[in-house]
């Protein structure tokens, strides 16, 4: 599904990702853990296509399609979704309008029919309710004045509505209290399925108690320093990232 091969990414002249190779098959959830500054968010931005995060070398494909040959919106239409660590505020654009525009743009890019307004509203309301999002919030400009936790719920709502093939969750647990974490994790888990892959980026093991990964990778020094099963996350929680920092 998502294949990354010997990826190198420089930001502002400094190489942050240095030869990263990773393969996440359909149906699996992989976690990437690592110390601050290891390049976790850089990896997420490079895959999603943010300006200034272009690869210097290597490849990344989603279901065989070259991600780096596509504009960010084409990657999204192809089925890539990035849940932002710091979701942006979009002043003046009501959440519902934003969601409908994004969904229809993706449908159009894939030559699929537009979704009808009643169907869209029904679907969004049901998905918002599952995430305990007040329907009134859907009328407000997206993320404007929302708390950190509300923004993260909105990210998961967008993911639920857009139904991507592959989701990257960048520090989705940051800013969440324990109740919100449970709600968000339930939302993410509801989207797990045999056709969908996920990459969960996190600094802390806590999130992985709720979103159980199939594989855990340690990102340090711009590459995957170690890979293992869920136990690896518990070991990191106990021992920290020191040994990787020294090695890097």
């Amino acid at each position: 599904m998502l294949r990354i091969d010997d990826l190198h990414v420089a930001v502002g002249g400094a190489e942050i990702i240095r030869g990263l190779t990773l393969d996440v098959p359909a149906g699996e959830v992989h976690a990437i853990m690592g110390p601050n500054g290891a390049g976790k968010s850089t990896l997420a931005y490079a895959l999603a296509g943010r300006d200034g995060y272009e690869p210097r070398g290597g490849k990344a494909t989603l279901e065989g399609a070259d991600l780096f040959a596509m504009a960010p919106e084409e990657r999204a239409a192809k089925g890539l979704f990035l849940s932002f660590q710091y979701p942006l505020e979009i002043p003046g654009v009501p959440t519902l309008t934003f969601l409908r525009t994004a969904l229809n743009a993706q449908h159009k890019a894939r030559a699929e029919a537009e979704i009808s307004s009643p169907d869209f509203l029904k679907q969004v309301r049901a998905k918002a309710a599952a995430l305990k999002i007040d329907p009134e919030m859907l009328k407000r400009p997206l993320n404007v004045g929302f708390s950190g936790g509300e923004k993260k719920r909105m990210e998961v709502l967008q993911m639920a509505v857009l139904e991507p093939r592959f989701a990257i969750l960048d520090e989705t647990d940051s800013g969440l209290d324990i109740d919100a974490l449970r709600v968000v994790a339930d939302g993410v888990n509801a989207l797990r399925g045999p056709e969908r892959g996920m990459l969960v980026i996190t600094h802390y093991q806590r999130l992985l108690d709720y979103i159980k990964p199939d594989r855990v990778h340690v990102l340090a020094g711009g590459r995957i320093a170690e890979s293992g099963g869920p136990d690896l996350a518990l070991m990191l929680e106990r021992e920290g990232y020191d040994k990787y920092l020294k090695a890097a």
């Binding site: 960010p72 942006l88 003046g92 994004a102 743009a105």
Partner: protein
């Protein structure tokens, strides 16, 4: 004294001026049309824009006294309006409420000057719509607001070779409420200038001003806004905001916000920004699948619509919204 060399436009204007308007004649000969050397016109060079190709309308009876009076106080738009365009006085009686819609249409040179007198407790909403045009568009209003009166104004200006819309408000009584809104859209080769002076002479009044605008490559937006609070105009509450969006390289926005406060028990605030769209927000939208051009148009539209007030009549609001959308859609 060495005579000033007159510009072609000044010579054309003088040729159209009847002999009796001596002050206007003298002003044009000695000072000339305002240019970038005049502080109040430094970003809107009327002398350069006013060339010999200006198409004068036929004005049957030039108001000579008014022309000279405007010339005497150096009010160029009012002077040109009295000599070559339209002047009008509107009086709103105590307790009365009126709504007016002024359109500044393309065509012959028709500068306009409006005097509005609001009696105590009178209320007026004035809407100005200036569609994009190739010529000169000059408009000036002087509003005198009596105690407890309310003046609300909204301008949608799409610019011209040179468009300048001036608003002068004289707060002449206690408890006056002023709301000034505006959106300017400066496309390629368009110049649009919204200039305002609000003078709180008497206390207890409020002013809310919010102007937003966008400029494209080759377009120029100008905002000049002065709020004066006179000595003794205590409990005045004035807020002024101008936010401009530079949509492309080569777009220009100039702003001069000014607060002049001589009273000590007042609340005044202002904010002024000019910049490009938030690239991070653009990326966020694109990462959700919204193509770049659509994302830009959505963010710009949302930005501008925040300055379109809720109080506009339904049909006006619809027209303003569709003009903004059309302007954004006509983008390269």
């Amino acid at each position: 004294m060495v005579a000033r060399v007159l510009s072609a436009g000044e010579q054309t204007a003088l040729a159209h001026l009847p002999p009796n308007v001596r002050l206007a004649d003298r002003l044009l000969r000695e000072k000339g049309l305002p240019s970038r050397r005049n502080e109040q016109w430094k970003w809107s060079d009327l002398r350069a824009a006013f060339d010999e190709n200006v198409q004068f309308a036929v004005v049957p009876d030039i108001d000579e006294a008014r022309t000279d009076a405007a010339a005497a106080r150096g009010d160029f738009i009012a002077m040109l309006a009295a000599a070559f365009g339209q002047t009008e006085t509107v009086k709103v009686a105590a307790g009365e409420t009126i709504v007016s819609i002024d359109r500044i249409e393309a065509g012959q040179f028709t500068p306009r000057a409006l005097e509005i007198e609001l009696a105590p407790g009178a209320a007026m909403t004035r809407i100005v719509i200036q569609p994009a045009q190739a010529g000169l568009a000059l408009d000036s209003v002087r509003v005198h607001v009596g105690a407890g009166g309310a003046y609300r104004q909204f301008i949608l200006a799409e610019g011209a070779k040179l468009a300048r819309i001036e608003t002068h408000v004289d707060v002449a009584g206690e408890g006056v409420e002023i709301a000034l809104g505006g959106v300017y859209l400066a496309g390629a080769a368009r110049h649009v200038d919204l200039t305002s002076v609000i003078n709180h002479r008497i206390g207890g009044g409020t002013t809310r001003q919010l102007i937003k605008g966008a400029a494209r490559k080759g377009g120029r937006g100008v905002f000049q806004g002065r709020i004066e609070v006179a000595r003794g105009a205590q409990k005045t509450d004035a807020r002024q905001y101008h936010h401009g969006l530079l949509l492309e390289e080569g777009a220009e926005i100039y702003a001069k916000p000014e607060l002049e406060i001589y009273a000590d028990d007042v609340q005044c605030a202002h904010g002024n920004t000019a910049g490009a769209l938030d690239e991070a927000a653009l990326f966020y939208m694109r990462a959700r699948g919204i193509p770049e051009a659509a994302a830009r148009a959505m963010l710009t539209e949302a930005f501008l619509l925040e300055a379109v007030p809720d109080y506009l009549p339904e049909d006006v609001r619809a027209e303003v919204t569709s003009r903004i959308k059309a302007w954004l859609g006509g983008a390269p």
